[in-house]
């Protein structure tokens, strides 16, 4: 949340968010993104909007999960979408790793979008003009987002809409965590109890080293700090790169941060 966003929103926006959060508590806490929850997101954004939750498999070029108010279904035109697409927001997210809420018009010029195959062949026939998207996760080529679509005859999403979505983020994360907890509890007790946690979790030492990398320290400096040899630091970092699937110090520091924050 930036200071700018705070000043764009008024008391009634915050009140609307609180009302939404109160409603959301009653909506299927066992599934993070149930049709009723996703459908209800429309009260947060101005205009006649169609909210959906989607998971994009970037490497596999498909959208295996799509949920809207009508239910959870595969998009019939998945193949067409990935032939002419993906849309510029998806491309932007996979290129930058940025998860902030963005409009289509923030990442591509209106004119270039109107001339693109994904607009002409996919969105325009469906009457879709504007989009607003909140990134939930882009790690490892698997992209999860909340997408709002609007007809081309409507006005574009506003800065206010962007800010409102951004404020929603921690609450969505809590909702995901709760659904995850529910899933563990409803699983077969024998199997569920022993489900091992993330294998890629960094050890305490590895985390410590990554954070020192994040402070801008060299391997030699880290070695002195931790009273180990630079070769050991290097070895730890190799494990970190492998676990996080990255190949540089900066990427490791930021991936580890993203992981601990998620």
């Amino acid at each position: 949340m930036s200071r700018g966003a705070a000043s764009r929103l008024g008391a009634h926006d915050f009140r609307a968010l609180l009302d939404f959060l109160a409603d959301a508590r009653e909506l299927d806490p066992e599934t993070a993104y149930s049709p009723s929850f996703v459908g209800h997101l429309d009260v947060l954004v101005e205009g006649d909007v169609h909210p959906l939750y989607r998971e994009n498999d970037i490497a596999g070029r498909r959208t295996p999960v799509m949920v809207d108010a009508d239910g959870s279904h595969r998009d019939d035109d998945d193949e067409l979408y990935w032939t002419v697409g993906p849309c510029d927001i998806t491309q932007y997210r996979s290129a930058t790793g940025d998860l902030t809420s963005v409009r289509l018009t923030d990442v591509v010029s209106w004119r270039r979008y109107r001339e693109s195959p994904v607009y002409r062949d996919y969105f325009a026939p469906g009457g879709i003009g504007y989009m607003l998207d909140l990134g939930l996760n882009t790690l490892a080529g698997w992209q999860r987002t909340i997408l709002f679509c609007k007809g081309r005859e409507e006005k574009d999403f506003s800065e206010r809409d962007r800010d409102v979505l951004e404020i929603l983020r921690p609450h969505l994360q809590a909702r995901e965590a709760r659904a995850d907890l529910y899933r563990r509890l409803s699983a077969d007790p024998a199997a569920g109890a022993g489900r091992p946690d993330d294998d890629s979790a960094l050890t305490l030492r590895e985390r410590e080293i990554v954070y020192l990398v994040g402070q801008g320290k060299t391997n030699a400096e880290i070695a002195v700090d931790l009273r180990i040899t630079p070769a050991t630091v290097k070895k730890h970092l190799e494990h970190v790169y492998e676990k996080l699937g990255v190949s540089g110090r900066a990427a490791a520091a930021s991936a580890a941060q993203a992981k601990s924050v998620d």
């Binding site: 609180l18 930058t96 790793g97 940025d98 902030t100 709760r178 007790p189 946690d197 801008g216 520091a253």
Partner: protein, 251 residues
């Protein structure tokens, strides 16, 4: 760490109780009581420390000696947090060897006289000036906190963060001009769109030359932008900048 079904059940029950607590305050007293039964402990507190001016921003128990704390402290965990930025749930025994801890002035003069010993701490936020956490303490005669306790505390993080965000919303719904408490995002707001774009590419592990190629600018322009970014974020390297920006955007 593998948690068992009863652990998940206990956390689920705890969250249901927490749902009904006042939303205006992230950490009301009854939440602390619930926390103490979820992870058995002698004492539990939400604490906010101003490292730079060496003082507690949250009220202390009447029998806590703040002056002594800063004379022999800060506590080794706080020291570790500020040094590394790591916020994961950790025990005292994870950051300092048993023997060294027992010999430290902090233990001998601050904890030992009142019979306290083991500490488990869930970091909530830190920059170089401030540190916020939930801290649980056990006495000398008790066993140290377990891996299970650590994992349980870590499970609570997103829910505690959502409570903080919700309390912030409640405050702003009543008084929209008041800026959010968390200062973490504020440095980032001063970055320009171009600087943010460059930072994102840095996070990808791209070199200046690669970034220059993508943005159709010269590598020296990229370098100039990055210098401004370092300056604004108060950091000294690519990796630190990538991390500081990430920490800002995640809030």
């Amino acid at each position: 760490m593998r948690l068992t079904r009863p652990d998940y059940e206990a956390v689920w029950e705890f969250l249901l109780e927490v749902d009904d607590m006042v939303p205006e305050e992230p950490y009301p007293a009854d939440l602390m009581v619930g926390l103490q039964s979820l992870v058995a402990s002698e004492g539990v507190a939400y604490q906010e420390l101003d490292i730079a001016s060496r003082r507690f921003l949250t009220p202390l128990d009447p029998d806590d000696d703040e002056e002594l704390y800063w004379t022999v402290g800060p506590c080794p965990i706080t020291d570790y947090r500020v040094r590394t930025g790591d916020l994961s749930a950790i025990r005292m025994s994870d950051v300092v060897g048993r023997l060294r801890y027992r010999e430290s002035p902090f233990y001998r003069e601050y904890f030992q006289p009142v019979g306290l010993d083991h500490v488990l701490d869930l970091g909530l936020s830190t920059d170089r000036q401030r540190y916020r956490s939930i801290v649980l303490i056990r006495g000398r005669d008790d066993a140290d906190f377990s891996e299970r306790d650590r994992a349980v505390l870590e499970l609570l993080r997103p829910h505690l963060r959502a409570r903080e965000a919700r309390a912030d919303l409640e405050r702003r719904a009543r008084n929209p001009d008041r800026s959010p408490e968390s200062g973490a995002g504020e440095t980032k707001s001063s970055l320009t769109a171009r600087e943010r774009e460059i930072l994102r590419l840095v996070r990808e592990g791209k070199t200046n030359t690669e970034i220059a190629g993508e943005l159709w600018v010269s590598p020296s322009t990229v370098k100039k932008h990055l210098e401004n970014v370092y300056d604004k974020l108060g950091v000294a390297s690519r990796a630190a900048a990538a991390m500081a920006a990430q920490a800002g955007s995640a809030r």
